[in-house]
Symmetry: C2
Subunit: 491 residues, 2 copies
Amino acid sequence: MAKELTTRKENYSQWYNDLVIKADLAENSAVRGCMVIKPYGYAIWEKMQSILDGMFKKTGHSNAYFPLFIPKSFFSKEAAHVEGFVKECAVVTHYRLKKDENSNEIVVDETAKLEEELIVRPTSETIIWNTYKNWIQSYRDLPILVNQWVNVVRWEMRTRLFLRTTEFLWQEGHTAHATEAEAIGEAEKMINLYADFAENYMGMPVIKGSKTEEERFAGAVDTYAIEAMMQDGKALQSGTSHFLGQNFAKAFDVRFSSREGKLEYVWATSWGVSTRLMGALIMAHSDDNGLVLPPKLAPIQVVIVPIYKSQDEMKRVCEAAVKIREELEASGLSVKFDDRDTHKPGWKFSEYEMKGVPVRIAIGPRDLDNNTVEVARRDTLEKQVVARNSVDDVVRGLMEEIQQNIFRKSLDFRRNNTHCVDNWEEFRDIMKNRPGFVLAHWDGTRETENRIKEETKATIRCIPFDAETEKGKCIYTGKPSDKRVLFAIAY
Amino acid sequence: MAKELTTRKENYSQWYNDLVIKADLAENSAVRGCMVIKPYGYAIWEKMQSILDGMFKKTGHSNAYFPLFIPKSFFSKEAAHVEGFVKECAVVTHYRLKKDENSNEIVVDETAKLEEELIVRPTSETIIWNTYKNWIQSYRDLPILVNQWVNVVRWEMRTRLFLRTTEFLWQEGHTAHATEAEAIGEAEKMINLYADFAENYMGMPVIKGSKTEEERFAGAVDTYAIEAMMQDGKALQSGTSHFLGQNFAKAFDVRFSSREGKLEYVWATSWGVSTRLMGALIMAHSDDNGLVLPPKLAPIQVVIVPIYKSQDEMKRVCEAAVKIREELEASGLSVKFDDRDTHKPGWKFSEYEMKGVPVRIAIGPRDLDNNTVEVARRDTLEKQVVARNSVDDVVRGLMEEIQQNIFRKSLDFRRNNTHCVDNWEEFRDIMKNRPGFVLAHWDGTRETENRIKEETKATIRCIPFDAETEKGKCIYTGKPSDKRVLFAIAY
């Protein structure tokens, strides 16, 4: 029998967990909170990486690599930063094991204790700014536009595959600039780039905006984020870009002589997206039959399943299937022809539905006679019979159509679950009974923000860039406010 | 003045260190033994990665990701394996820091001590075989052909940029097979793939062979390696592939039911190359003017340097240069047009020599008048004047020629420094005064191997696959031997 998922309606959270496992994306490892990303899941991540990396390079960034370990003392140099990460650090204290003479067990060699503990990077601002210090003397050395694709570790207490894991993969861009305006421009450019990626590749609409002080990155002057709505109405922060001001330059004493010959502190940004995007992608479009992938990120875009009874039928069907594969591959599509004789067509159909392959082609003896194939699209589960000589056209068309359709569907869903609210009762009711995005007025204080969170679990996801100036009263305190901010319960 | 290198003759080791720094490839970080790979060095590594990754995928492998941390107990499960790595492990013992109430300093929170210590992976056999246990039930689940591109940590006491660092980047393939023959075939396939990459992309001839027991990977039944000769006559092990037998399957109890319905242990291989290849690449071809890169791995294949005095000249020269760049880019070449007015042409010439850009094009007002450009190749430093309309042809031809020439040059060098030796005095003399590869007879014992090492520093790099059967006497003990093995002093 085919694999079955808990339905979204039954238990959304369980549906997600089931899906990650059953679509062969990832699993928990023997190490608490650390995941194994399985080949199929990793292939999706590689597609994301490759597209993002191309976008970074097109905007002038280069990749580099900085150490995994950060000396404890570096960590303490930027006060807000250390405050933010101090409670979730993996700490290396020794550099050798040995066989215990009595028990014969492998134990830590206490004579190999580090003079200064090393922290496994939770993010790399400190080690990078300590390095930039030596790279920057003059305005001629600026800007520095560097990114790295690496693993990071944050000791999370409650973990969930892709969404929150102790170790995760990400990219972190770290740029250095001569002027404040240029650094702010960079931070804006990168949040726009992330939004472009989310919408046009992941098919996932996002809202761009600034974080409140409460939700800001530890050490940032300003944090920009993109927020997406999941199918349970919750928000998932999918990427952030930070204007760091001169905070890290001051902490690590990084100054440059300006064009005018003055010694000035360098301006900084950092920005990142992580394997969390995998969680967003999975939740954004999938259904009770399994994963739904946007064609632009699908490792397999088309699967061909042969249907036959006799050996003779098999031969004829497979010959035709191979030709179709070649045709589609020549059009630049990634095609899998699943000719395994260990599994039945029905099993394969649900397997590839579970794995979110955008288009399935089935071909049997009757198709050969009629010069047709059956084409099924994953997003709507619709099937059509297509003339053999228009398969290539139809499939290429479907790639575009599916990509657009899942975006449109997500956008509609978000629209239907976004509310302008001016009444505290309604606000509470929404957050309790039918979570979604709420645009409401807020008095701008941290205190109110925290009170609202305590009472409803909703947080301010961002102050949208496109929020219109509009006189109003804070939803909680009634104090004056001049624009609406975005509230939601968040992942 | 341009940057200058220590010459190879003066001090080969210092030449290498200078080169890595001055060509902007990497530098030491604030963390002992860990390097920062700078954007230019990383761009070369990315080219290597992308080519190797393509080769892995073409041979049926997929990428995945396994945890950075390995529980200490896993480590101890394969006896030879733990023996090999126990002395150089970074150990995570705590998962939280805190602010000390008295000193206000950031200290390790002793209440957050891990029950079981975690080792930062020095290699991933143990965590991966612990995972494969759940992936493998039947012969239908085999083979598993998985690779990961990750960072690893081995606490080395003496480190050198790229060649031996505490943290390094690598790929590690881990495969699981139903039969011994298939696993051995895989290990052989991968060492051949590495040799192909070394020779046809890095332009670096290698000798393929088996390691002796002494030099084998900790936990392997057999280790295959490729060995390259550096310009100082020393050997650099550039890639290894291990046939692991059933050692890890037994340690982690990974069994499968065979086609015949019997429960059997799974057969394994692992194989890897690392950022050490960067060290090999740098040392294999470079000269006293700087890096020499094979065109297939050069991030910049062609640099165009404009030469002008007046603003008017500049405009005309730059127009022509941009056209040449477009032409070459259309031919698929990676081209940089360095139009910075902050540096003089002479400075740029030596800068790109230092960085090993294979071809340099200089263009000035006189070239415009004559409809020519000056083309210089990095490997031989030869210049030629080329008619404007044949630039594309000439440059594309040079790419091929340089790629072949540096390989040929390395091969000649190796031939000239490889000796068949049957006399112990001569062996000692070579290792002492003019190191190179020595093919000599050996009696097959670990004891002799170690004695030779003590007396000459030379080790058996490998037993070449293509060693001919030939009766002889061990160079050290005079005992009988039936083939020559490869001795060298190694990095």
